[in-house]
């Protein structure tokens, strides 16, 4: 039984890492209705930029700030050259534009900084410690704390600040928001920057775990089922979704994988998300849409 709980807790903590990527999605989807497939490559871009700066002898915080500036520049470029040109297009078009965007960002990141694997040490011990007879990873706990703080900060930002309230207005109704004088371009820039920041945090944690390399952009595929279960529009939903996916994935791998062969963690979350959708077509926290002809 203790083994079961160990797997469960390990899975839950790993799930938090998925949530970190999913939050970036939710931010952008909430504010602009864009399903941003490029979030994964933004994670890669941020992590790669950060590590390359670090390797050139720049101190941790300066590198962090510089990377953040790079993310702002990226957000500005995307807003100016892609989003603004595609206003009022169907969501499917915007989604495909972000597919193209992810190709550009990946190509750009790798041609700027090279394709080799970089190690990243955040100075956190990744040695497991024992807690009531269970082995837990210190690093995972740190990641969970970071995610918790991030969610707290973001929800304060969304609920208390002027910008946050404007963002919620845009999410509710773009036209109405424009009518009361909210500047859409500025808000998009802000939200893509915040998503870039979340991407940077996710990139650092994932990068420290897996090494900073191309496969980092594939975390987007892990975050997708998380998003589906949590709903596209809810930040806390993406945390809950991440926990569900993380835990069930690890449990399935350990207990189910023994019977039907290993390596099921690639498709299991998707099957789970699909089952979820059959019961609740908009995820746990997703908003129900009323359709009119």
């Amino acid at each position: 039984m203790s083994f079961f709980f160990e797997v469960l807790l390990g899975g839950l903590l790993a799930g938090v890492m998925y949530s970190l990527v999913a939050i970036g999605f939710v931010l952008i989807y909430k504010a602009s209705g864009v399903f941003n497939f490029a979030q994964g490559s933004m994670v890669l871009f941020a992590a790669l930029t950060f590590v390359s700066l670090l390797e050139r002898g720049i101190s941790f915080w300066l590198a962090f700030v510089l990377t953040l500036l790079a993310m702002v520049a990226l957000a500005w470029t995307i807003e100016r050259w892609v989003l603004r040109k595609l206003v009022n297009r169907p969501p499917i078009t915007l989604f495909m534009a972000t597919l193209g965007l992810s190709y550009i960002i990946e190509g750009l990141a790798q041609s700027l900084w090279g394709a080799q694997v970089h190690g990243l040490d955040l100075g956190i011990n990744d040695e497991p410690f024992e807690f009531q007879g269970m082995l837990l990873s210190q690093f995972d706990i740190f990641a969970a704390c970071v995610a918790g703080v991030l969610v707290l900060v973001l929800s304060v930002f969304f609920n208390k600040t002027r910008t946050g309230i404007a963002l919620r207005a845009v999410a509710d109704d773009q036209l109405a928001a424009l009518a009361v004088g909210i500047k859409l371009e500025k808000l998009w820039l802000i939200v893509w920057t915040v998503a870039g920041f979340v991407g940077l945090v996710a990139g650092l944690l994932w990068g420290a775990r897996l090494g900073v390399q191309f496969s980092l952009s594939l975390v987007v595929l892990k975050a997708l089922p998380v998003l589906i279960i949590g709903g596209f529009t809810s930040i806390s939903g993406s945390i809950v979704g991440g926990l569900i996916i993380g835990a069930s994935e690890k449990l399935a791998e350990v207990f189910l994988g023994a019977y039907i062969g290993g390596g099921i963690e690639n498709w299991f979350p998707y099957m789970l998300a699909m089952l979820f959708l059959l019961v609740r077509p908009t995820g746990i926290f997703g908003e129900r849409q009323i359709e009119r002809v």
Partner: protein, 355 residues
């Protein structure tokens, strides 16, 4: 002037509904077919057949399959390559396990099995839609590849997981030469292309377009949504399955799961974006573009920048250019290359005048 419609009247409904209504289009198409079937086999060399023409034809067919689903029925899919893999493996296994089955039948069987798989993964589309349907197709993508790599039965217990395709013998004729493979692929693609064009013009095709434009409204006017959606998944996957078998048997000569990974699905999606969604011609234009562009780029790179650029950088450049093109097309020409062709045609109708 070159493209005059005047004097060409349809005097019956079948005449009005034919695929090429204008005699200019008909003749252009006959000429194109004649060139493809008679001239190119005579002119082309092995490199052209194996490295350009066959992949072009197969990718066109795959894009056609996805276009039926995404461009016509409006169901976004990122699992095209999975259905190709199902087709390839089903065709291989039916050829292997059923004694004396003609190759054409095992090809067909591959398509049918892929179509059925498509229906299974299309079932969630009855309840969910929009981006959520991506999950179902991605589940197909990962699950199918996992099945083929995990269970050795599908690859006939070969240790490497890579199997050599059997020689291409149809009705006693050997089609294994590059020329023969080209002709065989061409025949299949032309036949299925005609079929697709007919489906799209039929009641089913119009139902699909209604579902794509607004599924609630389509339901209200009496279109059976489940039937339309599931048929879209079935027919699309059938096409993809056939394309997958051709990819394995005619192009690569091997059957292996990793040729059908997620990047292949993306490639096919890009073909229909660039070529034009909701167009049959667009698939061929898009596929030609996708096949030729990397070749062109590597020629330019080796010609201009001799050795200053290495293979890795070239690949990154390709990625950036592809991504840029996708965005460019979505912004400037959402209907793709097919729309550009249409515009040219309209210009030709009045040429040399402006209006």
């Amino acid at each position: 002037m070159l493209y005059r419609e005047s004097g060409q009247f349809s005097t019956s409904y079948p005449a009005d509904r034919r695929i090429f209504r204008l005699y200019q289009e008909r003749w252009a198409f006959y000429l194109l077919l004649a060139a493809a079937f008679l001239l190119i086999p005579w002119l082309g060399n092995d490199y052209w057949f194996s490295a350009i023409l066959i992949p072009f034809l197969v990718l066109s067919l795959a894009a056609l399959g996805l276009n039926l689903l995404t461009g016509y029925a409006g169901q976004l899919s990122l699992g095209s390559a999975a259905f190709m893999a199902v087709g390839a493996f089903a065709a291989y296994n039916s050829h292997l396990r059923i004694e004396g089955l003609p190759f054409l039948l095992s090809l067909l069987l591959g398509g049918v099995v892929a179509g059925l798989t498509g229906v299974v993964f299309g079932l969630p589309s009855l309840r969910i839609k929009g981006f959520y349907i991506l999950v179902s197709t991605l589940a197909a993508q990962f699950f199918v590849l996992w099945v083929f790599t995990t269970f050795a039965w599908f690859s006939n217990d070969s240790s490497s997981g890579v199997i050599t395709a059997p020689p291409l013998v149809i009705l006693g004729h050997d089609f294994s030469s590059p020329q023969g493979r080209y002709l065989f692929t061409l025949t299949v693609v032309v036949a299925l292309g005609f079929l697709a064009k007919s489906i799209v013009g039929s009641e089913l095709g119009r139902n699909w377009m209604a579902v794509r434009d607004m599924d609630k409204a389509a339901e209200v006017i009496g279109i059976a949504l489940p039937k339309a959606k599931l048929l879209a998944f079935a027919i699309s996957s059938f096409y993809l399955g056939i394309a997958g078998s051709l990819w394995a048997f005619c192009y690569l000569g091997t059957v292996e799961p990793h040729g059908f990974d997620l990047s292949r699905s993306f490639q096919i999606l890009f073909i229909i974006i660039i070529g034009g969604m909701g167009s049959i011609l667009g698939n061929f234009l898009g596929a030609a573009f996708i096949v030729l562009l990397p070749i062109l780029l590597s020629h330019i790179a080796s010609g201009l920048l001799a050795d200053t650029i290495d293979a890795g950088q070239l690949e990154n450049c390709q990625k950036i250019i592809f991504g840029g093109l996708i965005i460019f097309f979505l912004i400037k020409e959402p209907d793709g290359l097919a729309k550009i062709y249409q515009t040219c045609k309209q210009r030709l109708q009045v040429w040399p005048l402006r209006f």
